[in-house]
Amino acid sequence: MSLHQKERDIIVQNQYIDNFDFDEVEDFIKNASKDLFISHKFKNSNTTLVQPRGGFPTYQKQFELYEEFEKADIDVMPLTIDSHTRLNDYGSAKKMLMLSEENETDMLNGYPLVNHGYATTRKMITHFNRPVSLRHGTPDARLLIETALASGIFEIEGGPITYLLPYSKNFPLDKAFLYWKYVERVCANYSGLNEPINRESFGPLTATLVPPCVTIVIQLLEMLLSLEEGVKSFSVSFSQTGSVNQDAVMANVIREMADFYAKKIGVEDATINLVYHQWMGAFPRNKEFSDSLINTSSFIASLVRADKIIIKTRDEAFGIPTMQCNAQSVANTKYTFQMLKGLPTITDEEEEANLTEEIHSIMEAVFNDSADTLWRKVFNSIKNGIIDVPFSPHIINHNAVVTIRDEHSNIRVIERGNMPISDKCLAYEKSKVKLSKDKTAVINKIIEDIGVMHE
């Protein structure tokens, strides 16, 4: 038995799950309906697929949510996991699930997948027969992903960097890399049986003034770590920046760079898709304006020809949306995509060249790190600030990069910290902003920039 299989056997020996029949799971995946695979759907559609967020504790309520979504003709169903499960605390999840079932109030902020188990969950997934995307934020997602795949969930979001730097204060980053390596391998192993399993990175990160070069570098690195293990279908993503042009520039560059770096490590047979997140930062408190913002995001997703969009709701500033509100958002977005026609192609050579150069500089510095494996090189690069995510709550993050919006709302780097972008590129970025010398003026500008979508 391989080391990997040994690890698998240990992981699934858990008092909270019944039993795990790997042969049966393999059989299920081999014969599963193609409609469950987003990789298949990507291949056969030429519009932007629509995916909301959503997870409820009980089977019943999750089923009702899916019914609502089905009525709105959703393309990709979400399964959001509760936070106890994310911390591998299946005991609390179990207790809260029982309370939720008894009292008909939600005592969990998501679906406790491990506790429900794959036999049960698979019934729901196959019933609706649409692709499901797993959203969690778990550093050690090994058991969770085994359960998801066995349930018929063939898209797994996250990654060692994107699910850690925005979501955690002190979970050890090196451990996250290893746990995710396991996830990639499981996904890769299953990918030969039927359509490939899709992995998706979480490009929004902290959704707060993250410069395009940082987002894209992290997307590329998570992609490479995944392809290295044999994954054949991968989605890179980013969220609305606040400038239409910067979104277009990012889309063009990320597509080109994904191709370039996949080839660079010798992978030619993987499919890379682009996912666009509707505005992930602070929302306006006026729900009408939130609708406008959401629709504007959809328009941009169409303009940049994203393969999938992940949507928000008009309740974003207030709290977790109701099922109906969520389904309404799906319907609105589908309507917009359907009626929005004759989209022009946008390119901006100067901006694209600058961004490309920044990305190559950072990627080169990562590859030049002296460590032996890619994940260790990336680990070191984060630790020493070669990769630096603004507003990350994680203690390992360097926090030296400073960004600000220019007059067209493009996010610009004004302090590079340890990020190895060239003097020329930095000068280009800085040339776009008229910066006050006064430090409080700069701080006020940053506060304003965070609230850029407020009414």
């Binding site: 936070s83 911390l87 939600d106 902020n109 925005p166 979501y167 955690s168 204060k169 002190n170 902290t206 707060t208 602070a282 408190r285 309740d315 500033a317 207030f318 709290g319 977790i320 109701t322 507003f391 990350s392 709550p393 409080t440 701080i443 506060i447 965070i450």
Partner: protein, 137 residues
């Protein structure tokens, strides 16, 4: 002498943006700030208040978990004899969209907070804090 404030985000909440702004704004207003950051438990807050002899404890909560974490505040407050410390909380204090928005402030006051701000802008909160301090002294 500058007033001392201990601040941070309670529970498993990792929304850090407001926390960074609170840090900057408090300093700009002349407070001495001890920022515990995100993902801080109530006991850690109380420890820090005692240790620094703080005048104010300013807790943020954004992800809706606050209620679960703050019920024991009254108890801790009594135990540590923190009568003179101003306890303040703000952010997004309910899960989902609060059905009974008027009940939120009284509820948190009953947990032992002096000042409660649900979905209220930071600067309004800090203005109120300064007024409150003025009245007390």
């Amino acid at each position: 002498m500058n007033k001392k404030v201990v601040t941070g985000v309670v529970g498993n909440d990792i929304h850090v943006v407001a926390n960074r702004l609170i840090d900057i704004s408090l300093q700009a207003r002349g407070f001495e700030v001890f920022n515990l950051g995100v993902n801080t438990y109530l006991e850690e807050f109380i420890d820090a208040v005692v240790e620094t002899d703080a005048d104010v404890l300013l807790i943020s909560s954004l992800n809706g978990e606050a209620e679960g974490w703050c019920r024991e505040l009254q108890f801790l407050r009594a135990e540590y004899e923190l009568k003179d410390v101003i306890f303040m909380i703000g952010g997004n204090l309910s899960v989902g969209e609060a059905a009974n928005i008027e009940e939120i402030v009284p509820k948190y006051k009953s947990y032992g907070f002096d000042l409660v701000f649900h979905q209220v802008d930071l600067n309004i909160g800090l203005d109120t804090l300064e007024e409150f301090i003025g009245h007390k002294s």
